[in-house]
Structures are given as C-alpha cells and as structure tokens.
C-alpha cells in the first residue's frame, strides 16, 4: 500500500493528477471457429464440439481438444466438421447448404 502511495506521489510531481487510471485488467474472451453458423449442418452438433462420429469413438485424449476433428471451410464460406463433409462429398461433391461445387478453402488450427 505504501509503495502505491509513493508511486502516486511521484506521479503527482511530474504531471497533473489523473482522477481515474486503469491499472489492471483481467479480461475474458471466448474463441470459436469463425463460422457463419454454430452448428454443423451435417451432424447437427456444435462445430466447437467434435462431430457425432468422433464423440461416439470418444477419443481418450483428455488433455487436448479432439485434435482429429477439425473444422473445414469451403470456398463458399460454409463450414462443417471435416469428418462430416469428407463423408458427404463421397456421395455428392456439392456443399449441403448452397449446392455449389465443394472445394476446401482452409482447415482450422
């Protein structure tokens, strides 16, 4: 406490005293995949969670999120679990949401 007062004293001498100064900020942020929808349209599970098939296999990797179940964005900007869309395109090579030809834009990391 004393130290704190000293600091403010020294500040007083150099510049006009500020009434309110932000000292510390403990902030909280949430990360999610940058997707237009929260849910994978194929398995209807949240994209943040592993897809239904991966959950059924219940990966015993407890220390990290399910590394194998990543998210995949198409050129059309629609996104799905990579597992789900990979199986989907074997039947029809079109995006289930917009029917455009499916081609991968990027995978999550």
């Amino acid at each position: 406490m004393d130290e704190e007062d000293k600091i403010s004293d020294s500040e007083n001498q150099t510049k006009p005293e500020k009434m309110f100064t932000l000292k510390r900020w403990n902030s909280v942020a949430m990360w999610s995949w940058d997707c237009s929808t929260d849910t994978c349209a194929i398995c209807r599970v949240q994209v943040m969670d592993a897809c239904l098939r991966c959950q059924a296999e219940s990966k015993k990797d407890a220390t990290n999120k399910d590394v194998t179940c990543v998210v995949c964005w198409g050129e059309c900007n629609h996104s799905f679990h990579h597992c789900c869309i990979s199986l989907w395109v074997k039947q029809s090579n079109r995006c289930p949401l917009c029917q455009q030809e499916w081609s991968i834009q990027r995978l999550s990391s």
Partner: protein
C-alpha cells in the same frame, strides 16, 4: 519246494495251512518257517496238477472264517436277551470293539497270506469296475455269488454274522453313549475310542465296495443318529426357550453348534457331520425363526452388534434366512438417512446434506464389516438404501431432487474457501464421491459442477489448481472420459491461457511495444464452458480497453487460423486507481464500472442518458452498475431514482479509510432459482447428444441390432450418467435415421443397421 505244478493231497496241505490260518486270526505267534510254508501251500493248491484246487481252498477258507466268527458271536449271546442299560451296555461295546479290532487285524494278515489266490485266481474273474457301474449284463445275483478276495470275504462274513445280529443292539448302545456325552460329558477317552471304533466298523466292513460303501452305515446307524439327535436338539431348544432371552438363546445355540461340531468329528463318519449340523440348525434355528426375529428391529435400531453378529451366524446357513434381516436393515438405513437430511436449513445445507449422509453411510458400512463379514447381500442393501434416500424428492414440496446440486455445491465450497489443509480437502472430496456415486442423474451434478467450476476458474477463486485436477480425475474414474471431457477442457483452457499471456508479453517485447496496464487474458473455448448465450450484451468498449484488445487479437490471429474471439466483458474485472481528495485508492471492480468512471476523467458531470448512450449499455446493466458506484459514494446522483435526466457527478469529497477495496456490483445477478432451472433444461439437450453418440458407437460396433437389444445396450451404457427415458431414446434413434447414420433393415421393421 518247487514252483512246478504238482499233484497234491488237498486235505493234507489244507490241514497244515489251516493251523496257520487259525493262529493268524487269533493273532497268535506264527513262526517264520510256518508262515513261509503256508504261503507256499496257498500257491501249491492254486496250481495243483492235474487240476487247480483254488475253488476248493476258497470254499474251505470261507467255511473256516464263518465258524470262527460264529464262535465270536456266541460270546455275545448274553447281551442279546438281557436289558443292557448303563455299564453293561458299555461293556458290550468294549467287547465288540476289541473283537472287531482283533478280527480285522488278523484278516489283514490273512489276506496277505492268500495273496496268490487273490491275485491270480480271484481278481481275474472279477467283474471290472466299469461293468459294475454300468451294469453291463451282469445281474446283482452274479455279483453276489462271485468269489471275493479273502480280506473282503472275511469282512462280509463279519457283517453277515456279527453286524446283522448285533447291529441294532450296538447302535442303541452307541446312541446312549453319545447322549451321555451330550448330557453329562463324562465319557473316558477309552469310551470315546470305542464308540468311534464301533461306528467305524460299520463303514470299514464295506469299505472295499466301489459303490454304496456307506449304505450299511447310513441305514443301520446314521438314520437313527439323526433321529435321536433331532429330538435331543428339539428338547434342548424348548428348554432354553423357557428361560432365555433372544440374546441368550442365540449364544446358547452357537455354543451347542460348536460342541456338536467337535462331537461329530469325535464320533461319526465325515459324511454325517454336515447332516448333523443341518439337523441342529433345523431344530434349534429354523423351527424358532419367529422367536429369533422377534427383536431383530430393535437390535438394528439400537445397534446391538453382538446380538446382530450372532443372528447373522445363525441365519446365514438357512435358505433365505437373511432375507428378512437384510430388509429390516435396509429400511433402517433408509429411515435414518432420510431423517438425517430432512428439514435442513440455513447457509450450509449442502455441507449438512453430504456430511450427514456420509455419517449414516459410514456407520452402516462399518456395521456390515464388523458384524456381517462384509456380506455382499448386506452391502448391496446399503447401496440400495442410500440410493433411494439420495434420489428421493426432498420433503420441501419441490418436484426436482436437489441432491446433485447439493453435492456439487459441497465440492465447490471445498475448492473455493476451505480453511482445511490440502490433504483434508482431498479426503473430503473423495468422500463426496461416495455420495456422488449414488446420484442417479449424474449429468445434473455435472452441469452444476461445471457452472461452479467455471466461476471458480474465471474469477480466480480456486484455492488450488492441482486439487481441481484431482477432483476432475476422481469424477472421470467414477464415470468415464465423456463425463468429464468438458470439465477437463475448461481446466486446460486456464493453463493454455497462462501460456498465451506469456507469449503475448514476449510478442509485445519483441515489437518494443508496451501496454500501460497489467493485462491478463483468459481465452476460453466455446462449447466447453457453461456460460450461456453471449449475444445481446451490448457495450461500446472505451478506448482504454480497445487498445489491448486490438493488440491481443492481432497476436492471436497470427497464432491460430479460423478462430474468432468474443470478449465477455460482463465477466471481466480490473483495478482502477482512483485519486480523490488528495488520496489514492486501488479499487477492484467490473469492466462496466471502470468504463463509467473513466468517462469522468475529462468532465465533471453528465446525464444518465448521456452515459448510457456513450457506453451503449442495456437499461438493466446500466442501472445495476451505476447504482453500485453511487452506493460506494464515488459518484453522486442529483435525484433519488436513476432517471434519464438525472445528473451524475464525481464525488470530489470521497474518502475511505481503506485504500484498497472492492466494489461488488451484484456480480452476475442471476437468482439461484433461475440458475437451477437453466441448468435442468441444458441437461436435456446434453442427454440427447449423449444418447446419439452412444447409439452411433453401439451400431458402429454391432452393425445390425434389434430394437430391444439396442435399447438395452443404451440403457446399460448410459447407466453411469443418468437413466434415460425410453421415449427420449426412441426420438434419438429416429433423428439418427433422419441423419442417415443408421437405417431400418429391409427385412424387419424392428431392426437397425449402421450406415458406414
């Protein structure tokens, strides 16, 4: 002598041999030479020329043995007519025993002397064992007429003459002896040896038989023994019942059982020991079960362990004997458990709930181990009773059972503010698992636990991160990986965030950049944290926060691809240095409060409407946080109530004795009741996902499955978490058919197959 077959005079050779036979049977001394020549005589007769005379030897020997035994029998004539009570009877037993001992001994030597006849002549014509067993064309008559080895023949003759004639008298004497042993306990060791020996003669005499060797023993003696013992036990029981309490009676019966066990081993054949015990149990326990049970409830409720231990010993051997005791114990545990958690009041309901319940559990676990030898039947009754108490609805009229919430809160309390040592906390956490295991809806517990965990982690309230992990692992052990998956992800997010903060600071250093504030950021992954929907919380972030946010986001996006960050300002807090009336304060408060105060750095007063619009706060949020600043007297308001036109100004006269403190604007003003309701609805959603994953997993491994079999599998797999309703399972199956994970098979309407 010669080994060659030769012509012999049977009568001469037998005449010599017979003398030796006589001596052997009387156990008189036989000279070595005599023995050797007799041995040869048997051989010579058996191989005699021109025809072997073995059959004749057999017949003569048989006759001789018969006469010998007949003479013995005559010695007993006096006993067959007189009344043989008391000493006279005892004398007869001794006499018979010694005659039997001598005879059987002599017979053993004789059998050896006749070795050649036995081996070469008799064994060859003997029916094989298998033939006896499967009765292959050999009539019983043929067996009885067949020749026996001399030893066996001798035994059979003893049976036929001695036992046939004296058996009943002997048995009567034996039973009298045993009764004397029971009542007066004054048999000499010689008496005991004799009685045992006589009984044993009934066995030995037919011991050589492959089949039914105990038949004589059983019909002649055992039946009567059990009958006599039965009436003895019966009279003992009724005598005891006249004077004993239940407790005394049990002690007496246990004493009798012990004594009878010793007695049985002293006198009778092994096979009778169990039967005798059973007879004693029937007459002294089964017949008086109602009496034994008459005080059972009281024994349980008054914790009379000695009595209960005895009761257990007595009832255990009876068929279904313990059923009633177990039921009474179960009811008692249920009542005591329910009572211990009834009408709990006050702040510490969760502590009382867990600890009271644990106390009941421990008490009975201890009782079962000390008194009932950890009998699994009793342990499962304990489990049943505890589960029934813990999952029953509390009597406060609410429809939902609060156990899951209370146990979660108990853990929260331990991990948040316990003053206990680390090992104490850990042991209490372990004990909470005992109660947790009884909760049916474990997923409800999990929901509450994860909400509380989230608060602890976000607001740095956890006393120890290692303990957090320990607890998550305990839950994982109890319920498996899926159950704790999200909890684990939350836990790891905190570690990852510490890492990220370090990397971010390093990153800034590399850029020669500096933030003027002490920044710490927690980055949580969406989905794992039970924070509810984050939309609709409007807030115009002031530039003091804007800058660190921008810098961190650019750092974050360079580290990961495809991710976006949402800032949860309602969960953020910080420290503001406030200098008023020449004094500085370090005040901990939430982001919205800091943002409000910072607006007044450059102006002395503003209207409520202005502040709210600048910060774009919702009406509720604005009111709540402004009020907290007014209450703490940092800001002044010129009206009683907060109105749009009210003017806010800084209290330049502010003064507080403490220079470091915290303003708590009702942090997350959700009423506990709302929180509980939200939690319950989330549980349903999660159950559906859990069930779908289970169905996919089952179908993937089984490929094709009937409807009922699938339901059973699902029920057994989800048991560790919750008990799903059948309609919910059916809905999940339908939805998976819709999504083409599984399909109905073509040939059957109630069968599914997996779609790869």
């Amino acid at each position: 002598m010669s080994l060659r077959p030769q012509k012999i005079e049977f009568d001469v050779v037998w005449g010599c041999l017979r003398q030796t036979v006589d001596k052997v049977l009387k156990l008189n001394r036989v000279e070595r030479d005599d023995w050797n020549s007799s041995f040869t005589d048997v051989y010579t007769i058996c191989v005699a020329f021109p025809e072997p005379l073995a059959d004749r030897l057999y017949a003569e020997t048989k006759l001789f043995l018969e006469n010998h035994v007949k003479v013995q029998l005559e010695e007993f004539n006096c006993y067959r007519t007189e009344n043989n009570d008391g000493e006279n009877g005892q004398m007869m037993l001794h006499k018979y025993y010694s005659a039997w001992k001598n005879y059987s001994q002599g017979l053993e030597y004789l059998n050896y002397l006749y070795q050649y006849l036995n081996q070469q002549h008799i064994k060859k014509q003997k029916v094989s064992e298998a033939e006896i067993l499967y009765g292959n064309g050999t009539t019983p008559l043929a067996i009885s007429q067949e020749q026996m080895e001399i030893g066996e023949l001798g035994l059979d003759i003893w049976r036929l003459f001695m036992i046939q004639n004296l058996g009943d008298i002997l048995v009567k004497q034996i039973l009298q002896g045993i009764e004397r042993d029971r009542l007066e306990n004054n048999l000499t060791s010689k008496d005991i040896e004799t009685i045992h020996g006589v009984i044993n003669s009934f066995v030995s005499v037919q011991d050589y038989k492959k089949k039914g060797s105990l038949h004589l023993y059983e019909t002649l003696f055992e039946e009567k023994l059990l009958e006599a013992s039965g009436s003895y036990f019966m009279s003992q029981a009724s005598k005891l019942l006249q004077s004993c309490s239940v407790s005394q009676y049990m002690q007496e019966v246990i004493r009798v059982l012990d004594e009878e066990n010793v007695r049985a081993h002293k006198f009778v054949h092994m096979n009778s020991v169990k039967k005798l015990k059973k007879e004693c149990e029937d007459r002294m326990i089964s017949d008086h079960k109602a009496f034994l049970y008459s005080e059972c409830k009281e024994m349980v409720s008054n914790d009379k362990r000695d009595d209960l231990r005895n009761l257990y010993i007595l009832l255990k051997p009876l068929q279904d004997g313990l059923k009633e005791l177990i039921q009474i114990l179960l009811e008692q545990i249920k009542n005591e458990g329910a009572e211990s958690i009834m009408n709990l009041k006050g702040e510490n309901v969760h502590i009382q709930f867990v600890e009271n319940m644990l106390q009941v559990h421990q008490k009975y676990e201890n009782l079962i181990s000390e008194t009932f030898k950890n009998d699994p039947l009793f342990l499962s009754a304990l489990d049943k009773a505890c589960a029934s108490v813990i999952n029953s609805k509390l009597s406060d009229g609410k429809t939902t059972c609060r156990s899951a919430e209370l146990v979660a809160k108990y853990c929260d309390n331990l991990l948040k503010k316990s003053k206990s040592t680390e090992s104490e906390i850990e042991s209490k956490l372990s004990k909470s698992i005992t109660i947790f295991k009884y909760i049916e809806d474990k997923d409800v517990y999990q929901k509450f636990y994860s909400r509380m965990l989230a608060k602890r982690l976000i607001h740095d309230q956890s006393i120890n991160m290692e303990l957090e992990e320990v607890m998550i692992n305990k839950l994982k052990q109890a319920c498996g990986y899926e159950f704790t998956n999200k909890l684990h992800r939350m836990y790891t997010d905190i570690g990852i965030s510490v890492d990220l903060n370090n990397k971010f600071n390093q990153h800034l250093k590399n850029l020669n950049d500096e933030l003027n504030i002490n920044l710490s950021i927690k980055v949580l992954q969406a989905g794992a944290w039970p924070l509810g929907p984050q939309t609709n919380i409007s807030f115009a972030v002031p530039q003091e926060f804007e800058q660190p946010i921008r810098k961190f986001e650019s750092f974050y996006n360079s580290s990961f691809s495809g991710r976006k960050l949402t800032w949860l300002h309602h969960l953020c807090a910080g420290e503001l240095k406030v200098s008023l009336a020449k004094k500085s304060y370090l005040i901990t408060m939430q982001t919205y409060q800091m943002a409000m105060l910072l607006l007044f750095e450059n102006c002395d007063s503003m209207s409520c409407k202005e502040v709210r619009e600048m910060l774009q706060l919702s009406h509720d949020n604005f009111q709540k946080h402004l009020q907290s600043l007014i209450d703490s007297k940092i800001l002044n308001l010129d009206t009683e109530k907060i109105e749009d036109a009210s003017i806010i100004s800084v209290n330049l006269e502010f003064s507080n004795k403490r220079t470091k403190f915290k303003i708590t604007a009702s942090l997350q003003k959700e009423s506990p009741q709302q929180e509980v309701e939200q939690t319950i609805t989330q549980v349903d959603e999660d159950r559906k996902l859990y069930l779908q994953a289970a169905i996919v997993r089952i179908m993937k491994s089984r490929k094709v499955l009937k409807h009922n079999a699938l339901i059973q599998e699902i029920l057994s797999q989800s048991k560790v978490c919750f008990a799903p309703s059948i309609p919910m399972i059916k809905k999940c199956i339908e939805s998976l058919i819709d999504k083409q994970y599984i399909e109905r098979t073509a040939n059957s309407s109630d069968e599914y197959s997996y779609v790869a």
